[in-house]
Subunit: 469 residues, 2 copies
């Protein structure tokens, strides 16, 4: 909450000090605000040979209202954009020293079938990266490697990951860099995800790879992007404070009717959080034996469209010093309780067909962490839950995904000793911690009807943390 | 090569200095030496409910000559070990202050079917970790999540990753921690891999997850573990110097007939490297148009059992400043040339059925790196090559895998500026860089006949680097 270094180096004096000592200068990230246009500026388009996603891209350019400019690698774009009724021009590099005018760089790599064809990506990013403004967006669109017809094609598509992650580490200045793989016949599922990665809503999501499939349900037409969750009932566990409260708030802002769950001792805080959202507060200890049945019963009347498993605890100690209770409670609350609750909701049909489950994992669950054998095991288990449940839930058109937060500024991280906190804050491509709203916006994207093609995915909200596995 | 800090803190004076200032004290890693027993000391065995790999484990304990002690979680072990004719005892914790006597902790988690059953892992590692000596080994054996019958089982097995990676970060003292997933009916393929992870040969391999499947060829019986590559013809590209020379040397030490390939300008160095190995030196520019055909022709007479794609270059620059040639040459040499050569060898049948392809990827290919868009793309592409080719090569009983080195002490890394080099060295669970021989030993394991069940895998040789994705 209180990153005083970030504030300092973004003051006139602090900026001069940082420059003279060569200190990192984290950018003040542009985040979504209801009173500011969500999309603004130029989007530069590039493409490899035989790009297959330009039509889908044109739909997104149209719906966002961005003005497109075509890099020479995307010669097809101008005629195609005209067909879609879009104003478009040719990409012109920003003069050295001038204000960089481009808000987003999008490259359609879907047609690349061999590693020798990757040169087109070099040409595009070599020419355009310096014209990308602060807090700009880099998105590469590719074909899901596992769906490719030949090893050569799979290899070339897989190579994109190395490029996109390197671009994120080079670009800095609050710029995000992400890769979206689109399966064959899933072009119609691209819009919601591409909008998210172009939007200020994804301010702290960088270096990520998302796979989009054709989805299993009906395609939602005519999305109201201002209120994409209108009419949906969304449950958030651990909603009283911190990240959970932010999730409830963002889901409500997107039109959802929110039901917050937290432990009985947090009842007053939960009520305070729910009041301005016109939400419902339910007090349950999710780890209690009878909680799954009670939660299912409490939600039975309205039904549930979105369930966010956010509640979690930490009890850090090295395993030699850890008590059995500390191990057991962390695994039970962070992992086993989620399993029991989902089983109850799914058996009772409380979670409606076409629903969304979003779990909160953690970078610790990916990379492991000193003093967190219990927490990391629970959060790695959450990843297993997402991967194992996704195919099972497809028949009911339910998606399940997880977000894995990195260093997020909360009351919990505020208690970390200063030097470790500073290291956690700076060891990512944004050189700063994220905010609870960054996690919440990512969850809201996954919860949307337009995310029907996204399931079984783990998306980190970490500013492209250096840490990983 | 010259980690003077490591030497300093392991001197009597330096050790005192490091202690008083709270500096990291990297352990001098125990590495394989032909004149020292490969396995020595106690192996403590733990198990979850209904463990399924204890018979396979007993075979390995027998072949390594280790003395086993059973933790109370593995009550079945004592009777089973007796049946296998093994001396065994009960695990007794080391007295505080006494010399830790246990060389390896192995837990069979294969029977765990639900997250509530993970408590057994806590009990085992809580009781035993402090008894594990310097440069000890932690290995958890599980069931491949993707092969599990239920989401609950998949979830619990997947949770093991978080535990194992956290244990690696906690254990320090040169201890490695790795996870081996064994597919159903693949128990007979465990031995070679488990031996590697228990051996000093895996000194710098930690925090890794390896999946073993049933393999597609005949099972090799009666392995000569002193010369597992006897009678095999092994090709190593980039063999003149550095990591390539170390690979050639280790493969030769394990009995292989080595053919080294390097560019014509390195011919003299290559000849010098091959001479003591009684190997063959071939000068080719692997990126030349006619190289694949010429290499296939040169190898046609003897045929090839093992092909190690080690040759690679870096041409670091941020993409805005990178020349087209720097992009193109790195992709071409590190990735496209491998594709062309393999296609030629496979088409001509030069690489024999039952063969082994081992590629060298990089942490940069996993995590991306500033100034390495070209290199990271090429090394991510190598991962795609391994993943896409593995299923294709199964019919010919050929495996393909990659190693991904982290910070390895070579002439290349010696040129990195001191502060960055120091950060690269220390940011891993071993607090030091690896040696070329560490990469070479890992490749040799993947190249062995006993690794028939390991294919499509990426194994990092990074001392459990903090860096990742």
């Amino acid at each position: 909450m209180n990153d005083s270094y970030l504030k300092f180096v973004n003051s006139p004096l602090g900026g001069r000090v940082a420059r003279s000592f060569g200190l990192p200068k984290p950018e003040v990230l542009r985040r979504y605000r209801a009173d500011t246009p969500e999309f603004d500026g130029l989007i530069a388009i590039g493409a490899g040979r035989a790009p297959q996603l330009l039509d889908a891209l044109a739909d997104v350019v149209k719906s966002t209202g961005l003005t497109s400019v075509a890099h020479e690698s995307a010669g097809l774009w101008i005629a195609l954009a005209n067909r879609h009724g879009l104003m478009t021009g040719r990409f012109e590099p920003t003069e050295p020293g001038a204000h960089a005018r481009v808000a987003a760089l999008v490259f359609d790599a879907s047609g690349i079938e061999d590693s020798t064809q990757l040169d087109a990506l070099y040409a595009f990013f070599h020419d355009t990266l310096r014209s990308l403004g602060k807090c700009g967006r880099i998105v590469v669109l590719g074909r899901t490697p596992e769906t490719c017809d030949t090893p050569r094609q799979w290899t070339a598509q897989r190579a994109l990951e190395g490029l996109v992650r390197s671009l994120g580490k080079e670009a800095r200045r609050g710029i995000t860099s992400n890769l979206i793989y689109v399966a064959p016949h899933a072009e119609h599922q691209l819009e919601g995800t591409l909008r998210f990665f172009l939007s200020a809503r994804s301010a702290y999501v960088s270096g990520q790879v998302v796979r989009i499939d054709a989805g299993s349900g009906a395609v939602s037409n005519a999305v109201d992007w201002a209120q994409p969750l209108a009419g949906r009932h969304a449950v958030v566990t651990g909603a009283a404070r911190g990240i959970g409260a932010a999730i409830a708030s963002v889901l409500a802002a997107q039109g959802a009717q929110v039901i917050g769950i937290d432990i009985p001792s947090a009842h007053d805080a939960l009520v305070d959080t729910m009041r301005p959202l016109a939400g419902t507060a339910l007090s349950f200890d999710i780890a209690a034996d009878d909680a799954p049945a009670q939660i299912a019963a409490a939600l039975d009347e309205t039904g549930v469209d979105i369930f966010v498993h956010n509640a979690g605890i930490t009890k850090d100690k090295t395993i030699a010093k850890m008590s059995e209770a500390a191990w057991h409670n962390v695994i039970d609350i962070n992992l086993s309780a989620q399993e029991r609750i989902d089983d109850a909701l799914l058996a009772a049909g409380t979670l409606r067909d076409g629903g969304r489950i979003v779990c909160v994992s953690s970078i610790s669950g990916i990379a492991g962490n000193l003093g967190q054998t219990n927490y990391a095991a629970s959060k790695a288990g959450v990843i297993g839950r997402v991967q194992s449940m996704a195919p099972q839930l497809r028949a009911r058109h339910i998606t399940i995904n997880a977000v894995a937060p990195g260093f997020i500024e909360t009351q919990m991280t505020a208690k970390i000793p200063l030097t470790i906190r500073e290291a956690g804050r700076r060891m990512n491509s944004m050189s700063q911690g994220g905010l609870p709203v960054d996690v919440a916006q990512t969850i809201a994207w996954l919860a949307q009807p337009a995310s029907a093609g996204v399931t079984g995915q783990i998306v980190r909200v970490c500013g492209q943390s250096l840490l990983g596995a």
